[in-house]
């Protein structure tokens, strides 16, 4: 039977390593969700992606049961991993912190296509490229 939705909550957590600490604990606790049940399920589902930050969109129903879907990691995290830099530039217009190849931009765009509001792959690539530049990453051929 269809259940009435109480709220939708979006969080991000380390794959396989979510804990009941803030922000997850308070975010879910205030809706009456059993926090440990979410943590266990999130960690089990995301264990293969350990090392990445994974966004989750949790739907909370009136009876306090919940379902959730996981999304692809944030573009900035994927770019950091691909380019090997630990942190983006604070002044991206002046200081670059690394490079990322166009092929890698395309690979990230393909991975994130399902979660991006892009018409086609080319549009998705432009979005990822924009994120790269805003972090101080130079896009190479």
């Amino acid at each position: 039977m269809a259940k009435k939705i109480r709220a939708v909550v979006k969080v991000q957590a380390q794959a396989g390593k979510a804990t009941p600490a803030p922000p997850i604990g308070p975010a879910l606790g205030q809706h009456g969700i059993n926090i440990m049940a979410f943590v266990k399920e999130f960690n089990e589902r995301t264990a293969p992606q350990t090392g990445m930050v994974i966004p989750a969109e949790i739907t909370v129903f009136e009876d306090r049961s919940f379902t959730f879907i996981t999304k692809t990691p944030p573009a900035a995290d994927l770019l950091k991993r691909e380019s090997g830099v630990a942190k983006g530039s604070g002044t991206p217009n002046r200081a670059t912190v690394g490079t990322v190849s166009r092929a890698k931009i395309r690979a990230i765009a393909e991975l994130k296509m399902q979660d991006l509001n892009a018409k086609d792959l080319e549009g998705a690539e432009k979005m990822i490229e924009g994120t790269a530049r805003s972090m101080g990453l130079e896009v190479t051929a």
């Binding site: 939705i5 939708v8 600490a21 879910l28 606790g29 266990k40 589902r45 009876d63």
Partner: protein
């Protein structure tokens, strides 16, 4: 974990939310929470964004020495965004919260539940009059896993009802020594004790779980049967070792491992050693897509799967260690280093 956290909230449109969430990601602890404002849709299970697509954004700052600079960074950056005339956003609000504020909120919605044919999970703070044949587990899980609400726990309890002689009822585990690896709230240890187990050793590496399971055993009058220890089985994990001074080789007639696929796989050799010939093992907490990750190592240790149960995405195995007999020991087993 700090005792108190400063919750930072702001209401903003989708446009401003992008920039604000990047700020909260950077300055807050553990990231940002975004909760879109919703209105009912045409169907009961459908919701739509409110006009303007507003959302509430939250992040948390732990009490401590860098709280003031982190709070200032957030306030300054929000001021800058406002100066850029970024799409509408509300004012920043701050409030202190403690673990008790969120950890217990779900309890209001936790009520007496029936699992399988005879199990009744009764929250400690609720009254319940048991019927004939009911097996009641009085529980306050606190922040430990094992409320009985999760399919993994429910599957184990259902599985337990089929163990032992048919019609064995409450005495179906009479006199057995049982191991509960990763006990959480202690729910499965209590269940084994209710079914007549002579002794239950409940292990967990998490202090919160050990405290909850100890209290639950006492509250159910089962403290003389259920022994709760902060320990593991096999290789140490996060500095937690096996139970000192206890010989855990061929020591149990049955075991629960309601954890996750990876840990079951990793602990399969130690479980095999801890169990007596012919003993049962209920392995649970296995998500269907990773079933093989647990099933293959269990089979490699000589466990045969007698039952496979599934609820939603979750799978539980009832396994059996090879019985003693003229051929026992003939099959090669992998021993833990």
């Amino acid at each position: 974990m700090p005792d108190r956290w400063l919750e930072v909230s702001i209401r903003a449109t989708a446009e401003a939310a992008e920039a604000l969430s990047a700020l909260f990601e950077r300055a807050g602890q553990g990231g940002v929470v975004i909760e879109p404002e919703l209105r009912p849709g045409p169907d009961v299970d459908e919701v739509l964004p409110t006009p303007g697509a507003f959302a509430m954004l939250r992040t948390y700052l732990p009490e401590g020495q860098d709280l003031v600079p982190r709070r200032r960074e957030i306030e300054n950056s929000v001021g800058l965004l406002r100066a850029f005339d970024l799409a509408p956003m509300g004012d920043l609000t701050f409030r202190w919260i403690g673990e008790e504020d969120w950890a217990n909120a779900w309890k209001q919605h936790y009520s007496v539940q029936r699992i399988g044919r005879r199990w009744v999970i009764k929250p400690r703070w609720q009254a319940f009059v048991p019927g004939a044949g009911d097996l009641v587990l009085d529980l306050d899980p606190g922040m430990a896993f094992g409320t009985g609400l999760h399919p993994t726990t429910q599957l184990v309890l259902e599985c337990l009802e089929t163990l032992g002689p048919a019609g064995g009822g409450a005495g179906r585990l009479a006199g057995q020594d049982v191991l509960d690896l990763g006990t959480g709230s202690g729910i499965l240890s209590l269940a084994a004790a209710r079914l007549g187990a002579g002794s239950v050793l409940a292990l967990d590496v998490d202090e919160v779980a050990v405290a909850a399971a100890t209290e639950n055993a006492a509250q159910n009058g089962l403290a003389d049967v259920v022994s709760v220890r902060r320990a593991t089985l096999g290789e140490p994990i996060n500095g937690v070792v096996t139970v000192p001074g206890l010989d855990l080789v061929a020591a149990f007639d049955g075991a629960f491992a309601n954890i996750v696929a990876r840990v079951i796989a990793e602990r399969a050799p130690a479980l095999e050693r801890a169990l007596r010939p012919g003993a049962w093992l209920i392995a649970s907490g296995i998500i269907a897509e990773r079933e093989a990750e647990a099933a293959v190592p269990l089979a490699a240790q000589g466990f045969t799967t007698e039952r496979r149960l599934q609820q939603g995405d979750w799978v539980t195995f009832l396994c059996r260690k090879e019985p003693a007999g003229p051929l026992s020991g003939a099959a090669p087993t992998v021993q833990e280093a």
